[in-house]
């Protein structure tokens, strides 16, 4: 199998994603410049974190027009796996590959810290074998997930909410919500289940040297899913 990381101008977790996929998980990983198409033989596309276009206007708003996004859309339609992390998630919602929008954190500040996540769905290609509660860092100023009431109901009814912010014991509480996200939403999938967007950074929690390896479960879930076919 093969993975690709899209490099937008202003991406800054692109190299970290490559390191986690290739060095930690052993998957050949190609960097794809935002002007180019994602090659057809790529099974897993990662939209990395960072500040594409400086987050000017709104996070992800300008990046969604990048030429590479056309091929991401096609790949998503064909059922290939697409993972948007942080800014990647923001780009996916701006590109309407996922519903909703990410607003400024209610504390109005950028927030970098570890959070606990409840893995609500453990049967998506990204979450097979991911424990019920995992720890990962967040680092964002605009991670406050919002969608209108009908939209939220649809997410719930279709089981699209994959991760929710929770406390150490897995309880989804108001105190454990770092950014004001509706329903403590930290990550969602599309209806087909092959496009995941999440604010926390699995690639920053993929090695014990960094204090935690919970992020590795997620990357390896996707890899195993693809290898098994």
């Amino acid at each position: 199998m093969k993975a690709a990381v899209i490099v937008f101008p202003g991406s800054n977790c692109d190299e970290d994603c490559r390191w986690a996929l290739q060095h930690v998980c052993g998957v050949p990983t190609e960097m794809v410049w935002f002007r180019h198409r994602v090659p057809d033989d790529v099974d897993l596309i990662v939209l990395p974190g960072g500040f594409s276009y400086g987050d000017y206007l709104r996070a992800g708003a300008l990046a969604r027009f990048a030429p590479a996004m056309e091929s991401v859309r096609e790949a998503a339609e064909k059922g290939r796996l697409v993972l948007g992390i942080c800014n990647g998630f923001q780009i996916l919602v701006e590109a309407h590959l996922l519903p909703g929008v990410l607003l400024r954190n209610t504390c109005l500040q950028f927030l970098c810290k570890d959070v606990f996540l409840k893995t609500v769905r453990r049967d998506t290609p990204f979450t097979l074998g991911v424990p019920e509660v995992v720890r990962m860092p967040i680092a964002h100023g605009m991670g406050n997930y919002y969608i209108d009431t009908d939209g939220l109901k649809a997410l719930q009814d279709n089981g699209q909410i994959v991760f929710q912010y929770c406390d150490h014991a897995g309880r989804v509480t108001a105190e454990s919500n770092p950014n004001g996200s509706l329903d403590n939403i930290a990550g969602i999938v599309n209806r087909a289940g092959n496009v995941l967007g999440m604010m926390p950074h699995p690639e920053r929690a993929a090695e014990d040297a960094l204090g935690c390896h919970d992020g590795r479960y997620l990357l390896e879930s996707a890899i195993r899913y693809l290898i098994k076919g």
Binding site: P9, N12, D16, F51, C112, T119, E132, H168
Partner: protein, 759 residues
């Protein structure tokens, strides 16, 4: 070439003295044009020429076996082995931040980043020492919020983790806050790039943001008192998105071999970058300003040469490589503008609209810049500082005293600050901010780690500039040793008042001499730094505030150490010097002895006056302490280590307890238990002054925790190094910090006090 008459008033407005103007006339052999006058004015400003500080700075040791590049280039470089080198530098952005905190701080970050990547190093860490006034003042809160957000937004956007810093709140910074920023970069040794305009015939290429009318005379602005009354065009808006693109474009340009010299346009913009590149290489540079991309209409030569617009770069590219360079720069969408070429006539020649508007021997601007030895006089206030320690009667409750110290904004947790900084991007931060005396970064694909810290206790420098200067260096070096690293080198930012005041210059000179001596004894060469004078408004100067940034290396058998206790039962030792007294301590600022007019506690957020004297520092002991700790670390004798600084022994013990927190995890579900803490059980010896034993901030002291089975070896080693070692007690599993009958507090309460927000 003459358009505007150069009158004595105009010369004076440009900050040049009649003598300096005479040198200009001598160098040129004629009257300068207005553009030339502007060029001399900024190049000979204090900020660019170091005219008052140069002689004093010569006393710093700058060489060492591993120093690849010392002071004089954009940043210092030290060899790490493995064909790698570390590059680092510190800068101040005090004046702009005082009037536009957000953009002032952000552009400071942008500027220091450029110093690092122009050398061919990828920026891997940022640090930010900050000094503010009283935090209860709403205007100060606005400044604090703006500065932190500015640092955060720029650093976060470019993807360089901000991993450490320090913050003091002290009245002397009320009119003049200090915003220093340090950047550390990592490079392949064979890709070291110098800022030299080499090779006549090579092209001079401009890339990055277009030039506007911003910041004209920013360098001069940084060389005057009272920023508030100065012209305000000196504040610019940073563009971190362009910053990120020029990082990538520059590193790619260097890796491709297309560039032979690169310099950023920082203070004094195009003027400084072109002059310095030519003079370092002994060449000339000819540029045509019509080719400079411009954001504003109708800019004249003077404005283009002096603009300090952000995110602009100058590169020297051989003709045969220009296509390669152009492809890289255009791919990153940063533009590629050929301004002119390198000449062998030694002249900086500037053309605009078909005319030569400046023609100056480049090397003379740099080498014949004025140098002064300002008058120095010992300030009278020093005589008011008591020579003998002030006696401290016991406060009513020792535990309460400790909690007050932990809540004091200068000591309290800075989580509210560093949680706004992305400190994890690049996935290398192994010891995060708040978790150690220095931050630790792994160097991927090698067994190495780097430790980085910034330090600068100005209270001690105010009480005794020379000893204080030594202490600043000692603390910086000690902090990297505490996390397990060998100090490699040091960069410094010297923040002082107006150097033309003899009292200010005296403290500057003394401080630097003290620092230099400490650097020599501790073996930490100075590879670069920055001087920020004129931090003075309304006649009030800041405390002498030298700040050092130290970089260290951890390579096996050295291991990473952190302050948090690891195992119940470990023995706790106090290593190093004697507590001396409470002079200069924060406790003394909070608790005023009954003898003074005002007895009792001050509010932690509004501490009282500093009370002396400055403790003594024995540099030989300091060196022995550091060597001992390194050796004990190599032998695996230390499980936790923490240096004693603000708040003294009691605060250090509390921090080791607070940072011992761990949770248990159920591997199946991933659910964790609540965080559990270890405590400390300490025996309090019979001492003359308990307050001083608990809270003294005397230097050269540290805590170390050691496995009970290894204490004999540790004691023997301490003996070999002639370092005092005192057994204090042991790590307990009670989650309480118990000091005999003196205090007994649950760690949760210590934690709560330590996490108090300042506003």
């Amino acid at each position: 070439m003459q358009e505007i008459a150069i009158t004595p008033e105009l010369v004076a407005q440009h900050g040049l003295t009649p003598e300096e103007y005479q040198s200009v006339l001598d160098i040129l052999g004629r009257e300068p044009t207005l553009t030339e006058l502007g060029i001399f004015s900024v190049m000979w400003s204090e900020h660019c020429s170091y005219k008052c500080s140069k002689r004093t700075l010569k006393c710093f040791p700058t060489r060492g076996p591993n120093v690849l590049v010392g002071p004089g280039e954009n940043a210092g470089v030290i060899d790490l082995g493995h064909n790698l080198a570390v590059c680092f530098k510190i800068e101040s952005h005090n004046h702009p931040s005082a009037i536009e905190p957000y953009n002032g701080a952000a552009t400071g970050v942008g500027g220091i980043l450029r110093d690092i990547f122009t050398m061919g190093a990828r920026p891997i860490a940022m640090l930010n020492p900050l000094r503010f006034g009283r935090i209860t003042d709403p205007h100060m809160q606005w400044l604090v919020g703006g500065v932190i957000a500015g640092i955060a937004d720029y650093g976060n956007c470019v993807g360089v983790p901000t991993v450490a810093g320090d913050i003091y709140f002290q009245d002397c910074y009320e009119q003049n806050i200090l915003v220093n920023v340090m950047c550390v970069g990592l490079m392949r040794k064979d890709q070291l790039m110098l800022a030299r305009a080499q090779g006549p015939g090579n092209l001079v290429v401009y890339y990055g943001s277009p030039t506007g009318r911003d910041g004209i005379h920013g360098a001069t602005f940084a060389s005057k008192e009272d920023p508030h009354s100065q012209q305000r065009s000196a504040v610019q808006v940073g563009d971190p998105f362009m910053g990120k693109k020029i990082i990538e474009a520059t590193l790619e340009l260097i890796a491709s071999g297309a560039a032979v010299g690169i310099q950023d346009m920082g203070a004094a913009g195009l003027t400084c970058s072109s002059c310095e590149m030519a003079s370092r290489a002994g060449t000339g540079v000819e540029i045509d300003l019509d080719r400079v991309p411009q954001r504003a209409d109708g800019m004249n030569a003077y404005e283009i040469m002096l603009s300090e617009s952000q995110e602009r770069m100058l590169a020297v590219i051989p003709r045969e490589k220009i296509d390669t360079a152009r492809e890289i720069l255009e791919r990153w969408e940063v533009g590629c503008h050929i301004l002119g070429e390198v000449k062998n006539d030694g002249l900086l020649r500037v053309k605009h609209r078909g005319r030569v508007v400046a023609e100056i021997p480049a090397v003379k601007i740099a080498d014949q810049s004025p140098q002064y030895s300002p008058e120095a006089r010992r300030p009278a206030y020093l005589d008011t500082i008591p020579a003998a320690p002030v006696p401290y009667p016991a406060p009513p409750d020792w535990g309460d005293a400790l909690l007050r110290l932990l809540r004091c904004p200068t000591i309290a947790s800075k989580r509210w600050v560093y949680s706004q900084y992305d400190h994890m991007v690049q996935t290398a931060t192994v010891v995060r901010p708040g978790d150690g005396d220095a931050a630790v970064l792994r160097v991927k694909d090698t067994p190495m780690h780097l430790a980085v810290t910034v330090d600068g206790n100005s209270t001690m420098c105010w009480l005794d500039p020379e000893t204080g200067g030594k202490m600043v260096v000692a603390e910086g070096a000690r902090n990297v040793v505490m996390v397990g690293a060998e100090p490699l080198g040091l960069t410094d930012c010297l923040n002082f008042g107006n150097p033309n005041k003899p009292e200010v210059f005296w403290t500057f000179d003394k401080c630097v001499r003290g620092m230099a001596e400490a650097c020599r004894v501790l073996g930490t060469p100075v590879t670069g730094g920055n001087v920020s004078f004129y931090n003075e408004s309304k006649g009030l100067a800041v405390f002498p505030t030298p700040i050092v940034g130290v970089v260290g290396k951890i390579e096996p058998p050295l291991r990473i150490l952190t302050p948090g206790w690891k195992n119940a039962g470990d023995r706790i030792f106090l290593v190093g010097g004697h507590e001396q007294h409470l002079g200069g301590s924060i406790f003394a600022q909070l608790w005023q002895p009954q003898q003074t007019a005002r007895a009792g506690y001050y509010d932690e957020r509004e501490p009282g006056p500093v009370i002396g004297p400055c403790p003594l520092l024995d540099l030989e002991l300091e060196r022995a302490l550091q060597q001992f700790l390194l050796e004990a670390n190599r032998r695996g004798l230390i499980n936790a280590a923490h240096d004693l600084s603000e708040g003294g022994l009691a605060v250090a013990l509390a921090e080791c307890c607070i940072k011992s927190g761990r949770e248990k995890m159920d591997p199946e579900s991933g659910r964790r238990s609540a965080v559990e803490y270890l405590g400390a059980n300490i025996e309090v010896p019979k001492v003359k002054c308990l307050a001083s034993w608990l809270f003294s901030e005397a230097p050269s002291r540290a805590l170390a925790a050691c496995d009970p089975a290894k204490t004999a070896e540790l004691a023997a080693l301490a003996n070999d190094f002639h370092v005092p070692l005192v057994a204090l007690g042991e790590v307990s599993d009670t989650a309480r910090m118990t000091l005999g009958k003196v205090m007994d507090l649950p760690v949760a309460e210590l934690l709560r006090a330590h996490e108090t927000l300042p506003f």
